[in-house]
Amino acid sequence: MSDENSSKPPANAYWRANLIWVGILMTIWFVVSYGCGILFVEELNKIRIGGFKLGFWFAQQGSIYVFVVLIAAYVLIMKKLDHKYSKKN
């Protein structure tokens, strides 16, 4: 998304750090669900873990676990960022 840096720098650092983390986490989000669960499901199905074909497991189990972990990670990251940047203000 386009974003002109028209305003003050200190606040922008918080926002930029936030955007970078959101970008990283959203990439993982896309890879586990749309990548592993849909686009590459057939290739991954050749690999097996116990009784699960890996692609099928990602589509019906793994992606959901990763979603939960992603939100937990974001909560912790933002807690740190909030702490770091709200002190300065």
């Binding site: 998304m1 386009s2 974003d3 002109e4 028209s6 305003s7 606040a11 918080y14 926002w15 936030n18 959101v22 986490l25 959203m26 989000w29 669900s33 749309y34 669960g37 849909i38 686009l39 499901v41 199905n45 873990i49 116990g50 009784g51 699960f52 074909k53 099928f56 497991w57 589509a59 019906q60 189990q61 992606s63 959901i64 676990y65 979603f67 939960v68 992603l70 939100i71 937990a72 974001y74 909560v75 933002m78 807690k79 960022l81 909030d82 702490h83 940047y85 709200s86 002190k87 203000n89």
Partner: protein, 603 residues
Amino acid sequence: MDVQYWTYLIVGLTFALYIGIAIWSRASSTGEFYVAGGGVPALANGMATAADWMSAASFISMAGIISFVGYDGSVYLMGWTGGYVLLALLLAPYLRKFGKFTVPDFVGDRYYSRTARIVALMCALFVSFTYICGQMRGVGVVFSRFLFTEDMEMLFGWEQITWGVLIGMTIVFFYAVLGGMKGITYTQVAQYCVLIFAFMVPAIFISIMMTGNPIPQLGFGAQVTGEDVYLLDKLDGLSQELGFAAYTDGSKSMMDVFFITMALMVGTAGLPHVIIRFYTVKKVSAARVSAFWALLFIAILYTTAPAVSVFARTNLLESIPGKSYAEAPDWLKSWESTGLIAWIDKNDDGKIQYEKGDAFTGKPVYDDAEAGKNGERLLVNEPTSNGNELYVDRDIIVLANPEIAGLPNWVVALVAAGGLAAALSTAAGLLLVISTSVAHDLVKKTFAPGLSDKKELTIARCAAGAAVVIAGYFGINPPGFVAQVVAFAFGLAASSFFPVIIMGIFDKRMNREGAISGMIVGIVFTAAYIIYFKFINPAANTKENWWFGISPEGIGTLGMIFNFIVAITVSFFTPRPPQDVVDMVEGIRQPEAEGEELAVADH
């Protein structure tokens, strides 16, 4: 004690609990009524969000649908959970920081436009109404199946389902109108506990029975007890023997699976009754934390459901095909008597053939004047020419689970209470969005800005009351298209709310002209596509005619993409948004001061 008494007892107790909570948490101001005073703890809000989100469809129907479509069912599992990542990372914290009460509030202020507010308001009302009609029907179905027997003499001679809807309406009316968001939130917490317990108990028992593993999530990847074969391999084999597709392979095209999953994810993140829950917490950080709790609580059910599907499907394919009616398990007969199973002996051999295809057209219509040769209920439906003789309603997978597993009667009663909790909690959350939209967005912000808080609260209560009655009416007389409109609700949320909110936060250059034209293009395109294939020309609703192979269920994704493209293009050729709006966007991007608690906006 028999099932009937257990059901009365457990359902009665849970209802008493809900009403007790409603009395304890009455709302006294609009702030409390709309967003519970903005003071709900993150954990409680997470639980309430989970109950709000998981409807009768998630509780009763989803495991059944997956059971019959296998891998293709992943669209619901990923679609209805992945949206929470979008909510937590892209929407909820910023909307909470912005404050106010509703999505139309945000759209109206961010795009400095009454038109934008009204378009958003209409979408919110439409989405919520489509959704709530289905919930009321769900309440009626659960009541009529568990609380009343088919031959029971009903008061005034009304149908069982009518009474079911009426009782459900009364309960919801009571705690939604009295308690507002505050009452709803704490009842939803209780409802979550009831529904998750009711879902997990049978699942755990069946997992132990079939694989020896008490954790269903692991059990369905384990070996079958006493056999040297993995459960999923066994199921793939059984399915293919009978001419079905292998369970772990899908039959939908990859393109369609991709687009449907995306539409459901984005639609989830754009549903007003989900978004509004994040206005009820104290702080921005609490909005993120409660999104985490919400998804965790949802994930418990959503990772168990596919396991239940596999257990039930294996059970069904193992115990029914090729058996004679006389030696078929008892649950087959008891669910046949409720109309969820039907058997038509096409080749007259007394055995149940179960293969790919419908046994007959439409839902079963029985002719109970006399029983069939084998004691089965006879049907008046026209049989199809394929070899399949069995009709199985998908809801049976969850409903009959306790019986199939031979669990005690109180577990069956628990499932009834769980189904009711799921339907009632979602219905109440939707009612609140409707009443808030009417009282706050429509009356207060559009027609009567000078309205006092007390009067607004009265209007909100009346609106909630009126909405219950309308939803109840459609629950009793469901329009034939209820199932079809659900695609609508997600498609519209995906193609209107989601892009408009995202751009409002992440693109400072986005202006009124861009947002409105984007919303209109997104909605009109999505609605036109769905209406064409679902209502105008249903015969053409096949892969060959779809654009790029995208079904109407997944078209919201394309609508969303068009919305983004049009909005960004238009905003480049029209004036920048005014400075105070740019400042506002800058404001919601700032870290919140330590220890800061956001007040609920006074207006």
